[in-house]
Every structure is written in structure tokens, then in C-alpha cells.
């Protein structure tokens, strides 16, 4: 039982962080109707920016570094959206759905190799938020990981607050429900798109910066979180914020229990991801709207 609870705790802690990143992806999908195939690379950039900020400005508070990298990446996202995604919504691109897939995939390809060329292949690690580990009774968790999780929770709460209580949040909701109707009441969907994209990739980069002290960073550190985010949003329902949160936690638990209980330990870790992908493929086939997703207008 102790073992079960230990796994559940670590799964929950990780799941919350996964959810933060997936939220960003869902936000982008919900407003722009685009799956950002470069989401993992923004996660990666968050980690690198945080690392370099802390290396160049040694006295800098790590939390500030996380925030600043989030803002920097959001800015990059903003620029990308403006030049490469906005034309889709202005009718200047043929066959937008294919274009969206390809351009974000191309961005992913580009960013990964750019990171490799600029930062080099060696793993790096920004300094810890808090050193050591925390004894939770059932299990021990590294202070960094717990910090990342708590902060993710806070950010998610803030995000939901933003979406539900502020004007911008309501405008975003409006655009996600019906773009034309939103335009009729005076909301500029194009601006909302840009905001959503910047916000979405900003969240991914914060997740990356938060986890960098725990997992270290390399140019392709975003590949696995990327695929994991797709799985989460499909399970939770594309476009549904609560769905992504629940999906994130669920995947965190599944990964933890899967690896922990897989009968053949010599193969367990190898097949863990594959198992998740099979579930993912099945959900796509049989219940593409996931748990909470709705049909788009």
C-alpha cells in the first residue's frame, strides 16, 4: 500500500507539471484551432533561457529567471504567430489545416537544430530553487520538483482565474467558441490569436524552466514532453482546459503506475511510452473528443 501511495504521490506531482504544459497547448488549439507541433521546443527554450539568465546574472533569483524566460519565449511565440500563423486567418494561405501542421512541425525541426548548433549537445543544469529533498512521509521528493509542482498549480489557478474572470479571458473564450460571433461583438480575433499563442508557449516554457533543475536540459529535451502533451490533450479533450488539467494528472499517474507495476522490469521502461501511445491512438480512433472536449463550431 505504501508503494502504491508513493507512486501515486510522485505521479500526481509530475502530472500537475505536465498539465501546465498541456494547458498551453490546449489554449492554442482552442483559440487558433492549430496543434502546435513545436510545443516541446518552447519548453526546451524555457529551460535554456532560464539556465543562461542564471549563469550570466549570478545573483538572480531563480524564480525571476523562470518568469523572465517565460516572457522571452512568449515574445518569440508572438513574433512567430504574427508572421507565420496570422496569414492563415487572413485568408492568405491555401489549405490552412495542412499548413498549420507543417509550419509548426517545421518550426520544431528548426528550433531543435538551432538549439543544437547554438547551445551545443552537452547537458546543462541551472541551479536549484531549493536544494535537497523533502520527506512527505509516504515518499521523498526533491525540493525542486515539489517547487515546480506547487508553482504549476499556482499558475494554473491564475490562468483559470484569467480565463473566467477577466475581460481578456472572456474574449478568449468567445473566440474559441465562435470566431465570427466574437468579431461581431467587437473582439479582434486576430489579436486574441496572438495573445493565446504567446500565452500558450509561455506556459510551456515556464514548465521547461521549472523542470530544468530537476531533469537537466539538452536540445531535444522537448521531444518527449511534446508527445506527452498531445496525448494529454487528446485524452482530456482538445480545447478543454479542465480536460487538460485532469488529463495531465491522469497521465502523470499512468506513467508512474505503469513503470512501477510493469511485470517485466527489463522491458518496462521501454514500453511505458509505447503503451501510452497505443491508448492515445485508440482514443483518437474511438473517442476523438476525449473526456471533456466539445465539437468545434
Amino acid at each position: 500500500m505504501q508503494y502504491f501511495m508513493a507512486l501515486a504521490t510522485t505521479g500526481l506531482i509530475m502530472g500537475i507539471i505536465y498539465a501546465l504544459m498541456a494547458l498551453g497547448l490546449t489554449l492554442i488549439f482552442s483559440i487558433l484551432n492549430v496543434i502546435n507541433f513545436a510545443h516541446g521546443e518552447f519548453y526546451m527554450l524555457g529551460g535554456y533561457f532560464s539556465y543562461f539568465l542564471l549563469t550570466w546574472f549570478t545573483g538572480l533569483n531563480p524564480f525571476i529567471a523562470v518568469l523572465v524566460s517565460g516572457l522571452m519565449v512568449a515574445l518569440i511565440g508572438l513574433i512567430f504567430e504574427y508572421f507565420f500563423l496570422r496569414p492563415m486567418h487572413l485568408g492568405r494561405i491555401e489549405r490552412p489545416p495542412e499548413y498549420a501542421v507543417l509550419i509548426t512541425f517545421g518550426l520544431s525541426f528548426f528550433l531543435q537544430n538551432l538549439a543544437l548548433a547554438v547551445f551545443g549537445p552537452y547537458p546543462h543544469r541551472p541551479p536549484s530553487f531549493f536544494s535537497g529533498a523533502v520527506d512527505l512521509g509516504i515518499t521523498r521528493v526533491s525540493a525542486d520538483r515539489l517547487t515546480a509542482s506547487v508553482l504549476s498549480l499556482v499558475l494554473m489557478a491564475l490562468l483559470l482565474l484569467l480565463i473566467n474572470k477577466t475581460w481578456i479571458g472572456k474574449a478568449l473564450q468567445a473566440v474559441s467558441q465562435n470566431k465570427d460571433a466574437a468579431a461581431v461583438v467587437g473582439i479582434n480575433p486576430l489579436r486574441m490569436n496572438t495573445i493565446a499563442f504567446a500565452l500558450g508557449v509561455g506556459l510551456a516554457s515556464i514548465a521547461g524552466a521549472l523542470l530544468a533543475p530537476s531533469f537537466s536540459i539538452v536540445p531535444d529535451v522537448g521531444a518527449v514532453p511534446s508527445i506527452r502533451s498531445y496525448v494529454i490533450i487528446v485524452l482530456g479533450g482538445m480545447g478543454s482546459l479542465p480536460g487538460s488539467i485532469l488529463g495531465g494528472i491522469l497521465i502523470g499517474l499512468v506513467e508512474s503506475f505503469g513503470a512501477g507495476y510493469f511485470p517485466d522490469p527489463s522491458r518496462g521502461l521501454t514500453y511505458k511510452t509505447a503503451f501510452g501511445l497505443v491508448i492515445f491512438a485508440l482514443v483518437l480512433l474511438f473517442k476523438p473528443t476525449g473526456f471533456f472536449g466539445r465539437r468545434r463550431s
Binding site: I103, F109, F110, Q112, A117, I227, V234, A274, A281
Partner: protein, 337 residues
Amino acid sequence: MKINRRFPFQAKWILAGVALVVALLAPLALESYWLHVFIIAYFYALLASSWALLAGYAGQFSFGHMAFMAIGGYTSGLLGRYFNTPPLLGILLGTLLAGITGLTIGGLVLRFKASYLALFTIAFSEILRMVIKGESGITRGDQGLSVAPLFGTEVISRLPYYYTMLAVLVICLILMYWLANSRVGLFLRAIREDEEAAAARGVDVVKFKVLTFVVTSMIAGLAGGFFAHYITILTPNILIIPQMGLVIAMAIIGGVESLIAAAVGGVIIQISLEWLRQFEAWRLVIFGALLILTLRFARDGLVTPLLQRIFGTAPKAELRTDVSSNAAKEEVNLDEA
């Protein structure tokens, strides 16, 4: 319009003929190492052009293309290793298996929109890769599966492999070209532009989408089979997502609307990559940037406009009338579909 519409076709054939002659004679000027580079380039050209058929013509932006290639290669390799199957038979069986898998996947993704199709095929490709890697007892995983060379262990020269890969490329290109310019191609284009309208006009959307999947996955499998028996060693790394990305980049930069352009894109990019090896990571950065910029500003790829420049300014609409005017012309014939 008074411009001779046959002009692009005629020029294209002359161009193709010239390219073929050059390719046939190239070994006289090329060293063994560069023969290798060209053989690999033809392999990528095969993948890029078949992907262009699937994506550009049928509008199915599948990320599973390398998986079909791997099925072709590994089937032949495994059969050879455990049952001593002769290479050609192995390649045939590999191609068939790739086709059957293509049939299954094609059938499953029928109703998927672009994003979902991409996600699903990524999942398929990754699952396959993990299984190949995980079952290393059978497949030898990362250590590499030894595959018998196509022309046996006595033949050291690369020449026969060069001509074989070239022949496979040319034959497949001819096949795909015929398909693309036949009624089937027309229907595919119609489906891509507007699926509901095409269906309303009686086009059997299901049949043609699946047919394209089967044909292109078989070609990928065929490519994989010949590749395996040339390179004589297979690892799960052949189907990592960045490899798929490379093929996509080739097709798009070459021109996803035209098979020949995609093939040419494949050859040129592969050779350039080899040439630029000294720049290490930066060469892929350049291609990534080229991919994004081409997608945004030159949707038809770079090869086609280049050809246009050589032939003088044929207005853009002209080249596109290949399809749309034909569509207009043959609209009446759709009822025969």
C-alpha cells in the same frame, strides 16, 4: 489563352530526359563515395516523391511514411536472417506487408482531419519504432540487423546498386506520374480541394484515399527494402521523427504539388547535406529555416518556380491550370467514376 498549353508538358519531358541521361552517365565521373551519396539521394527522392503523392495530391499529411519504409526494410531483413529468404523475394514481401499496413492505416484515418492524422501517424511511427527497439532479441535493436547485400558479398563495386536504385526511382516516378495524371489523380485533387463537393459529385472518396495510402506505402516499403539490401544494416534510427521531418522538408522545399519537383528536391537536399557536412548542426538549421520560409512564401516549393524562371515567365496560373482547368474540362466525365 493563346499561350501554348502543351508548352509545360513538352519542356518537362525534355527536362526529364536530360536528367535521366545525366544520371545514367554520372558514374563515369563519380567516385565510389559519391555514388553512395547519389544512391542515398535517390532513396530519399523516392520517399519524398511518394510522400508528395500522398500529401500533395491526396492531401493526407501522414507522418508514418518512414514507418512503411521500415516495414519494407525490416521484413526483408528479418526474413533473410531467419529464413534465408533471397533478397528480391524479401523485398517483394516487405513491399506487400507495407501495402497491407498502409491499407489498414489508410482505412483507419479516413475521417481524420489534418491535425488528427498527423498525431495518429506520429503515434503509429513511434510505436513501431519502440517495438523494433524493444524486441531487440529478434530485431537486434540498436546493435543493427545485418541484411544480405542485394548483389551478394562478392560484388564490391557500387555501380549495380546505383543503377538499381535509379531504376527503382524512375519506374516508381513513372508509375506515380501516370497515377497522378490519370483520372485517379484528378479525383484525388478534387478530394483534396473540397472533399464534400467531390463526394457530392460521385467520387468514391474512401476508395481513392485508401488507394493512395496503399500505393504510397508500398513504394515506401519498396524503397526500404532496396535500401536495407544496399546499406546492409538496419537500426530503429531510420524511423525517428526527425528523419520523417527531413523527408517532409525535401518534399516541401522541392514542391509538394509536383512529384518530379519533390524528387528533385530530395536529390538536391541530400547531396547538399552531404556536401555541407563540415557545418555540422548548422546545415540542418538552414534547412529548417528554408522549410519554414518555403511553406510561408513559396507554397509550391522552390523547384517549380526555378523551372519557370528557366523557361521564362509562364504565369503562375498557367501551371496550376494543369489541374483546375482539367477539372473543369473533365467535370462532365465525373459521372463515369
